[in-house]
Structures are given as C-alpha cells and as structure tokens.
Amino acid sequence: MDPLESLSLFFSVMLIIVVLLFMGSMVLYSLPVFEKFGIKFIVGTEWNPRKDIFGALPFVWGTFITSTIAIVFAIVISYGAAYFIVEIAPPKLREFLSSVIELIVAIPSVIIGLWGIFYVVPLVRDFLKPLSSPLSFIPFLSGETSGYSLMAAIIVLTLMITPISTSFIKNALESVPMELKEAAYALGATRYEVFKIVSKPLTRRAALAGIILAYGRAVGETMAVVMVVGNTPNISLSLFNPGYTLAAVIANEFLEATSVLHISALIALGVILFVWSLVVNTLAILIMKRVRIG
Amino acid sequence: MVNIKVQVEGLSVWYRDKQILKDIYISIPEKKITAVMGPSGCGKTTFLKSLNRLIEIHEGFRVYGKVLLDGKNIYDPDVDPMDIRARIGMVFQKPNPFPHLSIYDNVVVGLKLRGITDKKYLDRIVRETLEKVGLWDEVKDRLRSSAAKLSGGQQQRLCIARALALNPEVLLLDEPTSALDPLATAKIENLLVDLKKEYTIIIVTHNIQQAARISDYAAFLYMGQLIEFGETKDIFTNPKNELTEKYVEGKIG
C-alpha cells in the first residue's frame, strides 16, 4: 500500500471510530432514563424535570405533527411551483428562479426564526386566529393563542423545506426527455395532460426521494422551531396551542438541566431523534438508488 | 541490417472472459515507424497499451506472453512498470495536456515528479523538446500560460513533447491525429518522420493512407490476431493475405 493510500485509510478509520464513539456515547448517556422508565419513556406523556418525571411523547407528537403537516403543504406547493418553473415560466427565467430557490436553502435557520418571531407569530395571533374563529369548533383550530404555537412552527418549517422538495421535483421534471413530451403534445394533449401522463409518472421516484429528504430536514430542524413554537411540553390537538419538538427541547433545556436524569432524558430524546432521521434518510437513499437503476 | 527494438512473443490479452488479443508475434524494428492498422475493435489500442504496461491500470485485464524491450521481458516480476513507462512514452488519441498546468509545466511534469528539479536542466529540456515538435516559436513567449489555451494540433504536439522530455527510446501513438484537422495532421505526420531518426515509433492508425504515407513497416490486426506484418510497401502493393488485401483496398474496416 502506497503512502497516500495508507494515509487516507488512516483518516477513514479515524472517521469510523468517531462515528462509533458518537453513537456509543449517546446510547450510554441515555441509559439511566431508560433504566428508570423503561420503554414507557417513549410513550410517557408527562415531562416534569422538577419532579424528575420524563416522558417523550409530547416531543414525539410535536415533531410528528409539525413535520407531517409541513411536508403535506410542501408537497402541494412544490409540485405547483416546480410545474410553474419548468413548464410555464419563460426559459430565460428558469435558471434564475432555480438559483433563487437553491440560495434560499442556504439561509441559516436562526434567521428564519428571527423573522418568525417578529412576523409569523403576530400573523398567527392577530390574523390567522381571528380568521379561523368561525371554525374553532374543529379541534385543530380551537383555543386561544399567543402566536407562539405549533401553527407558527408549521408555517416556518413549510417555508424551509419546500425549496428542497421543489428543487428535486424541478430537476426531475427537467430530465424528462423532450421527445416523450413532444409525442404527447403531438397527440393533442394539453400542457397539464402532458405533465399528468408523461412527466409525473416518470419522475415519481425522484420526486419521492426529494420529499423524503425534505421531511428529514423538517424532523431535525431546531432553531426556527424553538424560536416560535412556544416550548411547552403538552400534547394538544389544537395547532394554535404552543408545543415542543425533540430538537427544540434539547436545544432549550440542555444547559439548564436540573439533574443527571434530566440530561439523560434529553440525550435519550436525541437518540429518538437520531434514529428517526436515520430511518428517513436511509429511505431516501434507497429510493434514490432505485432511481439510478430504473 | 535492422535491429529489433521490441519483440512481442505470444501476446494474448483477456478482458474478463473475452479474449482481445490472440497469440501475437511481432518484431518491431528500431528507429523506424511501424504502423498498426485494423478495423475498429480489432484490439489495436489494447495492443499498444500492452507495450508499456498501461493496460494494467484498468481492472479486468489479463496479459499473457512476453514483450521484450532490448531482449528483456517488460512483464518480468523484477521489472518496475514505472521505468518501462519512462522508456516507452505514449501519446493518446484525444490530446490530453494537463489543463491545470502551464505549457512549461506540462513538458517537465514527468521529470519533476521523478525528482529532477534543476531549473537550468528543465529550461533546456523545455526548449529542446518544444523545438523538436515545432512548437517553440509558437509558444516561447507564453510558456507560463495554461496549456488548455492551445489549439488541438498544438496540444497534441505538446503531448508529444511531454513524452519526449523523459527521453524515451520508444514512442507509442494511439491514433494521434484522428481528432485533428488536416493541416494539424500533416504537421504531426512530418514531425513523426523527423523523430524516427532518434526514436522507435509505433503508431496505431485507422487511416490507411496515413499508414501508407509515413510508416516503414505495417502490421494488420483483425479480431485480435496479427494477420500480416512486413515492410509497408510490400503490405500495400503485394499483400500476402486476402484479408489484408481487402483492408488496404478499403473493402473492410
């Protein structure tokens, strides 16, 4: 083995050790809280550091509801926006719009959070709540709000992840061979029908991969969420209530953890978050692999 | 009396489970131009790359037989492929100067990487080789500019200079003019005729007229086998093999 190969192998092994160390330490530090509560920790509904009672469900719920609703919005908006960029917008504008969308992904989440505090929170409190008051019999839209809410988190998350899925779907749509589309047009299909019959089916897998990746981003998103979600560990159906996510509580409570068990609980939440992200990302990779072959 | 520079004995090359070259015997004369002709896919490039062991950098190839350079088999276990590649230089079909290096650096890169750093020596080599390939006057004022800015024909001559800088004994050229226009092609053909005074030249070409124009000896390869080999004038006017006759008349390949 030549010197370069041994050197790079050395670094690769070092990386493996680091990752293993990382996973190992996470598991180790989270053991105490699993010892005390067992598997019930994951479904425990009460989170009370002062009483040393810890349950993960409020955060699992918060992460789940915010990411899921955000991705649903993202899917609808992405398809529309990608369709617009590829099929409707003038070709000269296309590259510019693509660059803009990609650049937005680069905006640090703390800046989105800053904007969220001063614009989204008031929007939820002063506009969306009054607007939806006739519908407040629906559990999702009930209750009072200070603006800091799951809804604010959903808005902010949607904004952050939609450019990701839009980029993916846009790239996929652009790669559909022109000949196939032309054939459909030649049969008298409308622009939308060409999309429905040719483009959409051909790009299903790539689009799915992008959507899953965007979902993964939503699950792990910390700053923008922690700044607008209200940071309250309850499980409520109303989106106007404040809530909490796995990432947000770790960021928020880590420094002020009141006991060893508290830190262990937070790290355990980290393990849950890590596994969740891992599953999502692996899914995306598996789908993308199939895309390359298929 | 002609000296034999490269003696190929029983060369067979396999790629995975397909045999590319079948039992080739050929004696390449010293300081002459030997052309290797044949239709596409007949194994010409594989043959050439077997002569400087470049074939080994690709996965899946197996080489059997002997290639003797001045009587010593280059595939012997005690022979270092790096030394072979310095004694047998190669020029490729698509001109491939290193675009991230200047003209000057392209010429001397082989020397520098072998540890030769004496500036006076390098300057001299640059001038000598660029003069040999007829580029010196064209580029002497911009030796430090990027090699990527040269025209196709100039780039190819630069690649020849790069190979010559290592002072090889043999020069292998794989269809060196197929990507160039007729004017650039003519320049390189004239260059090769000039170079044969100093170097043994083996040129793979799919251009029959080129082989007829510049080579002293010609080999005809077909489907991995050597069909015929001899002096160019004999091959073209009086081929012994029917296949050879068909090829040089343009009826196949």
Partner: protein
C-alpha cells in the same frame, strides 16, 4: 367556441401552479426584504468593531461574536478539511467493495444527523473535559462539515477524465503521485469549492453552539474559553425583550446573510473561471 373540460382543467392547473409559486416566493421575498429593511439600521462600523455595550446607548456591537465565529469556524475547518478530504480521496481512488459501501453509508449517517445532536456529542466529548469553549463548538461544526467535504472531494476526483489519468500514468510515476499531483491537481478548483461551501454551511449553524460555547459577552482569549458566535447572538438578542438588541439581531442577520451570499456566489464565479475544462 365552448371551452372544453380539458382546456379548463389545463387553465386551472396553470393558475394553481402560479399560485403555488407565489406562495413559495412571496414569503421568501418578505424574509429577504425584512432582513434588509430592519437590518440596515444597525449595519454600521460599530456593529463589527465594538463589543457589546450598555443598553442605555446603542448597545454596542458584536465584535465578540464575530471573533467567536472566526474561531469556531476555523477549528471546524481544521477538523473537517483533512478528515473529509482524505476520506473523499480514499473513496474516489482506493476503496473497493464492501468497505467502500460501509464508508459511504457512514458518511450518509453523518450527513443526516440533526445539528443539535452533533452539539450533544461535542458536549459529551469536549465540554465534559474542557468546559464550554470555542473548541467544543468547533468540534461540533467540524462533525457537521465532514460529510460535505468528503462528498464534494469524492465527486471532484471522480470527475477527472480517464485520459488525464492515463496521461499521468504514462509518465512513469508512482500511483500515489498520479493521484496526488495529477488527479488532485486537475480537480483542485472543485475541491476548494467544496471546502468553501462546507464553510458557508456551518457558519450559520446555531443549535450545536447553543450547548457548547455558552455565548457570553466576552471576547474569547483562547480556544478553551467560552465564546459567542454571530448566529448565536442573533438568537440571544432576538429572544430578549430589548428593542436595542432586536435591532442588533436584525443587523447581525443581514451581516450573516451577506457573508453566506458572498461565499456562495463567490464559489459559483470561481468555478466558472477556474474549472472551465
């Protein structure tokens, strides 16, 4: 002519697409606009040259955070550039079969870690030993950056055409010289671009810093002391009840945006002029 259902459907989807595009673009434009409008107020020399000062005045600047960011990012690059480069190099040039697959999977795992988790890791490894420090923050960001550097290096080296590699080998030099001087030389600008983009990626990261550098008002004296950073100070000031600090938060956000934008656009321009071949 009576419009058919088909053409109505087509028109509907066109309208929907325009609507969806606007829903995406308008909030984004609003974000950019509000950063500029709000941030311009305190985008002054004091912001970048002065440490925090009394709230009775202008509140001072964020010099401490700028220095902190520089330290943290520097450490992050120190960790991630060599590690990422050589792992990427190994994958592109040497690794085979199962081990390569395993290594790539590991990098994917690393790439998918939520950044707060990287912070937790840095906490358990560095803070526990050295305390809250720029070192811990840099370590966390380094972990985040490694997969970006490794992937872009691997891709850059993979883009070296076979002809260039063959030309390198035909010079009769060792394999490692071909890789290091010819392949890396050819791909140099793309590799550097990868470095810069990784840097742009981590410079705005906040979550891991929250739990590793403590974020005070002091200018850190060395890498073992607590520090602040631009994105962290944005977070702290945004959450505060003081209008003076809100102004600074917006201006710091504008500053950060400008830095990230300059790096991203700079890299694009750099690639255009350098990697033309």
């Amino acid at each position: 002519m009576r419009p058919s259902l088909r053409s109505l459907t087509d028109k509907f989807y066109t309208a929907f697409a325009i609507f969806a595009f606007l829903i995406l673009i308008i909030p984004l434009l609003h974000i950019i606009l509000s950063i500029i409008m709000n941030g311009i107020k305190r985008l002054d020399l004091e912001l970048i040259t002065s440490p925090p000062k009394s709230l009775l005045g202008s509140g001072g600047g964020i010099l401490h955070a700028i220095i902190g960011t520089a330290m943290v990012v520097f450490i992050a690059m120190l960790i991630s550039l060599p590690l990422g480069f050589f792992v990427g190099l190994y994958l592109a040039e040497f690794a085979k079969g199962k081990f390569a697959h395993f290594l790539r999977t590991l990098i994917s795992v690393l790439a998918g870690i939520p950044s707060i988790i990287a912070g937790v890791f840095a906490y358990t490894v560095i803070v526990v030993v050295y305390g809250f420090s720029a070192l811990a923050g840099g370590f966390a960001l380094g972990i985040i950056a490694i997969p970006y550097v490794a992937r872009s290096t691997e891709e850059a080296l993979g883009s070296v055409p076979m002809e260039i590699k063959e030309a390198g080998f035909s010079l009769g030099i060792e394999r490692w010289k071909v890789v290091l001087f010819i392949d890396v030389g050819y791909a140099k600008s793309r590799i550097i671009a990868g470095f810069l983009l990784a840097l742009a990626r981590v410079i705005g990261e906040t979550a891991p810093l929250l739990i590793t550098i403590l974020g005070g008002i002091n200018i850190p004296s060395n890498i073992f002391s607590p520090a602040n950073a631009i994105p962290l100070v944005i977070y702290q000031y945004a959450l505060s009840p003081f209008r003076i600090w809100h102004n600074i938060a917006w201006s710091a956000a504008l500053l950060l945006m400008i830095i990230v934008l300059v790096i991203n656009l700079g890299v694009r321009y750099y690639l255009k002029i350098k990697a033309i071949y």
